[in-house]
């Protein structure tokens, strides 16, 4: 067993550790933040591993084309790691890649919804979608050009998303928008994820379970804050959004939190119950301020930022643990994804001319 783990993870871990080392040495994010315009930010990318993104900017001047290149890099990264693994470990990596596919599907459906249901021209925007095969043979072109909901379902017929998507009717979408469908797709992914984790070998299963349960707890907390507090959603609707794993979903604190009147809920107490340390002083201040919406949004962002920091700390701790498990690969994905998300966010910030301090504030 032990030698199997070494032969399975030895090479990929050495490779990923080297990449993580380079990632840590790299000052790309700091230099990007420091750049005083998009042109200069692109200059930072030119000499980094993101040079292809800079080349896309040279060729097109288009920020979304740069994002498409970044997405392509992310997909290649998952595929590369999966290639070096085998069996249930490779299946898990592919399942993680499925999340990117689902996000791409959600983006495509949003665009389709905008075009067909809302009758808004999408013009060239369909060209910003990733249309190559990510994991399953989805006909992305047919999907974005579908003139009816049935054709949308048809384009997904060879993918596991078909049943989830076709469970919704055109009328459902007209009435409730895409949110329930998107949530259903996410839930489906998590259900498959937990099934996939069960097929792993014991050591991997333990590592992956602990990491994903933590992910689920953080996601549930974000749902409780975003929809239970910021959007004042009623308790039953919020409950439906919670994933049924981890400590948060089934806890007494969550029950108590949701029992409260939507306008009286306090997200700090429930977060501090699981991850102590979130400061509370800004909530009443913001709630009394004149621009309530903006204050609440900033507060939500702050809480989400805090939870993201906690997640980051846990993933980084994972790097110091047993090297011959799936844990290192999961940490690498997290760090890589975090970095590319930051690159995207900073480039957008620079495009819209935000100051360095403001972008930093939003990133944290």
């Amino acid at each position: 067993m032990s030698s199997d783990r070494v032969s399975l993870y030895g090479f990929i871990n050495a490779k990923l550790r080297a990449k993580i080392g380079l990632m840590r040495q790299s000052k790309v994010i700091e230099n990007l933040l420091h750049a005083s315009s998009l042109v200069e930010a692109v200059g930072v990318l030119r000499d980094s591993k993101y040079h292809a993104v800079a080349e896309a900017y040279d060729r097109t001047g288009d920020l979304q084309q740069m994002e498409l290149v970044l997405l392509g890099m992310e997909i290649s990264m998952y595929k590369e790691v999966a290639r070096y693994l085998e069996g249930s470990s490779a299946d898990l990596i592919n399942h993680l890649l499925e999340k990117i596919e689902i996000d791409n599907l959600k983006n495509t459906l949003r665009l389709w919804y905008s075009s067909i249901m809302r009758q808004r021209p999408i013009r060239h925007r369909s060209e910003y979608l990733f249309k190559e095969i990510i994991l399953y043979p989805i006909d992305w072109t047919a999907l974005i050009n579908a003139t009816s909901w049935d054709v949308v379902g048809e384009s997904l017929k060879d993918s596991p998303y078909h049943a989830t998507v076709t469970a919704f009717s055109e009328q459902d979408l007209q009435q409730s928008g895409l949110f329930p469908l998107e949530t259903a797709l996410d839930r489906m992914w998590y259900v498959h994820l937990m099934d996939c984790v069960k097929t792993l070998k014991k050591a991997d299963e333990e590592v992956a379970t602990s990491m994903f349960l933590l992910e689920i707890d953080l996601r549930n907390l974000i749902m409780l804050v975003r929809y239970g507090w910021y959007h004042h959603m009623d308790a039953d609707a919020v409950k439906k959004l919670l994933l049924p794993w981890g400590k948060v979903a089934s806890s007494k604190e969550t029950e108590a939190y949701l029992r409260q009147n939507a306008s009286e809920r306090n997200p700090h107490s429930i977060i501090n119950r699981y991850y102590p340390g979130l400061e509370q002083e800004t909530v009443p201040l913001h709630r009394e301020s004149t621009n309530y919406d903006e204050a609440s949004l900033l507060e939500t962002l702050k809480i989400e930022g805090y939870l993201a920091e906690r997640r980051k700390a846990i993933y980084q701790r994972m790097l110091a643990q047993d090297p011959f498990t799936i844990g290192l690969s999961l940490s690498y994905f997290f760090l890589f994804k975090e970095e590319t998300s930051m690159v995207k966010a900073i480039l957008n910030g620079k495009y819209y001319g935000y100051e360095e301090a403001y972008i930093r504030g939003v990133l944290v």
Partner: protein
């Protein structure tokens, strides 16, 4: 080339403040002074001195320089190097004016980029329709032929363009062709209706419409693409038109950064400026003259010999000829040698090339390495902007040596692409590996090859020991020189061990030698090793070190002795046997070539040649890489561990051409 690290001298100078600018320029131009903060030399004197904040922060200068570099890169212009720097042009930076220039240029570029984005979006929209036509996916397109009975056709054209569609008239008729995407039909239908669109009943025309609009689509696409490329060029041209100004700003900022860097080491009294730094002894006179000249003789210069300063504080400058650069890089990559010690570069070169040659001995394959290196060098020389590829600039330098080494050893062992085209000068390696060792030769089987590489290892280890003894002698570390495991005592024990080992092998692995001198030598050596701990403590106390009770000192000495014995017996043995890898890889190289030759002989004609060539390529890549890595490993672990402490501090002078100055 110095056999040892370059001797250094510490300069301390006082100049009048009004001449300090000129002095800075002179020092910058020379670029040989590795500055030290005055407070490091004599903290007691600091009360009488003051330090000044520079009027412009260095980070502000750096940030602005990075802005300039980013703009140049956006225009695909190479960032200037120190070649453009001239200290005569060192003037106060006009940061506000610079900022305005950069802001204006950035704003213009962003505006061009926004236009380029719009062109790109147009290209994308047109490409999508072109693709559907090309891939015969007409079901995604909405193509119509008809008449416009209400409103102006220009208005409809504009509105259809908002959907990314096209509206074109049919020549010599009042008919129009409309091409949009079917997914937009829900919005296009009411639009056409608004303009009183009357669908044509001409079936033939309906069928021809696709080819008619296809041409127009192509033209529109080409025009949009050309526009996008034109803007891309315009971006380059815009930056290019300001290149001279950007270079001037860059040079000014860089000079001010360096000047500020030098000034950050300055200390001041009311009228004078004080500074200090290390200079290689051979440059001392030049530096002194430069300061005297710049200060018009109104200066005080004092030199301190490196011997008066703790060795670990003296920066280490190693001078090797340019030709040894690849091996100098290997040394630098490991660490900086201690001040006053042997410069290991030339020894590394000899050891590395011998190791590589022994593992990768083939004239033909060596020639391939040499050709690859020369072609790579030519490519980089021809295109200086080319980024380093898998075979980097540094690697091409090294490959030249490796190619030559492989060729020399190949000739010694008679291997030419694995073939014995000419008789071996020394012995036929491949024949020995195959069990057909030549008669009369000293090397007849693989054991002889193993023995040969072990003996080579012994030479390398002893060379390391001798270099260590020289270093210790120069350091006046006589106790270490005599009684350390890497000192003379270690050498004696290693020699004794070798004698016993070879005798054991000669006896057919039956018995160790029983010479009467062995036991006394071992006993005395081990005793001396034991008393080393006590002697070291005695010397330390004599030099003012901390006193301990006898029990502690004895325990320490015994523990150290025990560890030393373990290290000597296991360390020397493993270090020596480690060189058997040289034989291992050499044998693998010969065996692989033999295997590929046999494989190719099984296939007649062209197939055989292909196998032979592919075999050679595989061996060159895999064996070349392994041999290179193993040689490096043997140098770093087996050779360096004997004499290279790596405790030195690198000499980093501040000057126009010193890349290190930017990192400070």
């Amino acid at each position: 080339m110095n056999l040892f690290t370059r001797p250094m001298k510490l300069l301390t100078a006082v100049v009048l403040e009004q001449t300090s600018d000129r002095v800075v320029k002179s020092l910058l131009r020379l670029g040989v002074l590795d500055f030290v903060h005055i407070n490091k030399l004599d903290p007691g004197q600091m009360e009488k001195l003051s330090f000044r904040q520079s009027s412009v922060s260095r980070s502000a200068l750096q940030d602005m320089r990075h802005r300039v570099e980013a703009l140049l890169k956006q225009g695909h212009i190479t960032v200037p190097t120190s070649e453009v720097l001239d200290v005569q042009n060192l003037e106060k930076p006009q940061l506000e004016a610079f900022k305005k220039t950069l802001d204006d240029l950035t704003a213009s570029l962003l505006s061009l980029k926004e236009k380029q984005k719009e062109s790109n979006q147009m290209v994308m929209g047109l490409e999508e329709m072109q693709r559907y036509i090309k891939e015969d996916k007409g079901e995604y397109l909405d193509l119509r032929v008809g008449q416009i009975t209400k409103g102006r056709s220009e208005d409809l054209k504009e509105k259809i363009a908002a959907f990314g569609g096209l509206l074109e008239s049919v020549e010599n008729t009042d008919l129009w062709i409309s091409l949009t995407l079917r997914r937009d039909v829900g919005q296009v239908d009411p639009l056409l209706e608004k303009f009183g669109w009357m669908e044509s009943s001409d079936v033939q025309l309906q069928q021809q419409a696709i080819s008619m609009i296809k041409d127009q689509l192509g033209k529109e696409h080409d025009a949009a693409l050309a526009e996008r490329e034109k803007i891309e060029k315009a971006v380059d041209e815009m930056v290019s038109s300001q290149q001279a100004q950007l270079f001037a700003i860059w040079a000014n900022l860089r000079l001010n950064e360096l000047s500020d860097q030098i000034r950050s080491y300055f200390a001041y009294t009311r009228n004078t400026t004080l500074f200090s730094g290390w200079v290689p002894t051979d440059q001392a006179e030049v530096v002194e003259q430069a300061i005297i000249q710049a200060s018009e003789g109104q200066c005080v210069i004092e030199w301190t010999d490196a011997r008066q300063v703790p060795r670990n504080e003296v920066p280490v400058a190693v001078s090797s000829p340019k030709i040894l650069a690849p091996f100098q890089r290997m040394v630098n990559n490991y660490s900086t040698p201690e001040y006053g010690s042997v410069n290991p570069t030339i020894f590394v070169m000899i050891a590395y090339l011998c190791m590589f040659g022994l593992m990768f001995a083939d004239v033909g394959q060596g020639l391939v390495l040499l050709l690859v290196a020369l072609l790579g060098k030519y490519g980089y020389k021809k295109n200086p902007l080319k980024k380093d590829g898998m075979i980097s600039r540094n690697l091409t330098d090294l490959l030249i040596y490796l190619g030559i080494s492989a060729m020399i050893f190949g000739a010694l062992f008679g291997s030419y692409f694995g073939l014995s085209l000419f008789p071996a000068i020394w012995f036929n390696y491949e024949a020995v590996v195959a069990g057909h060792g030549g008669d009369g030769s000293l090397i007849t089987d693989v054991y002889d090859i193993l023995g040969l590489t072990v003996k080579f290892g012994i030479i390398v280890i002893y060379t390391g020991l001798v270099l260590n003894w020289i270093n210790l002698f120069r350091k006046k570390s006589y106790l270490q020189l005599t009684l350390d495991k890497n000192g003379l005592l270690g050498g004696v024990l290693f020699g004794t061990g070798l004698y016993m080992g070879f005798a054991f092998v000669e006896s057919g692995y039956q018995s160790f030698p029983s010479d009467p001198w062995i036991a006394p030598v071992l006993a005395v050596s081990l005793f001396l090793l034991l008393i080393r701990g006590f002697l070291a403590y005695y010397i330390s106390v004599k030099q003012g070190g901390k006193r301990h009770d006898l029990g502690t000192v004895t325990m320490d000495a015994i523990l150290e002795w025990f560890i030393d014995i373990l290290e000597i017996f296991t360390g020397y043995l493993s270090n020596t046997l480690s060189f058997m890898r040289v034989a291992g890889l050499g044998i693998a190289h010969a065996s692989l070539m033999q295997a590929f030759k046999e494989l190719s002989s099984l296939v007649d004609g062209f197939g055989g040649v292909v196998i032979f060539i592919l075999g050679n390529i595989l061996v060159i890549v895999l064996e070349g890489l392994s041999s290179g890595i193993q040689s490096l490993r043997l140098n770093y672990y087996e050779f360096f561990s004997r004499y290279f402490t790596g405790k030195g501090v690198a000499y980093q002078p501040v000057g126009l051409k010193n890349s290190s100055s930017e990192q400070r």
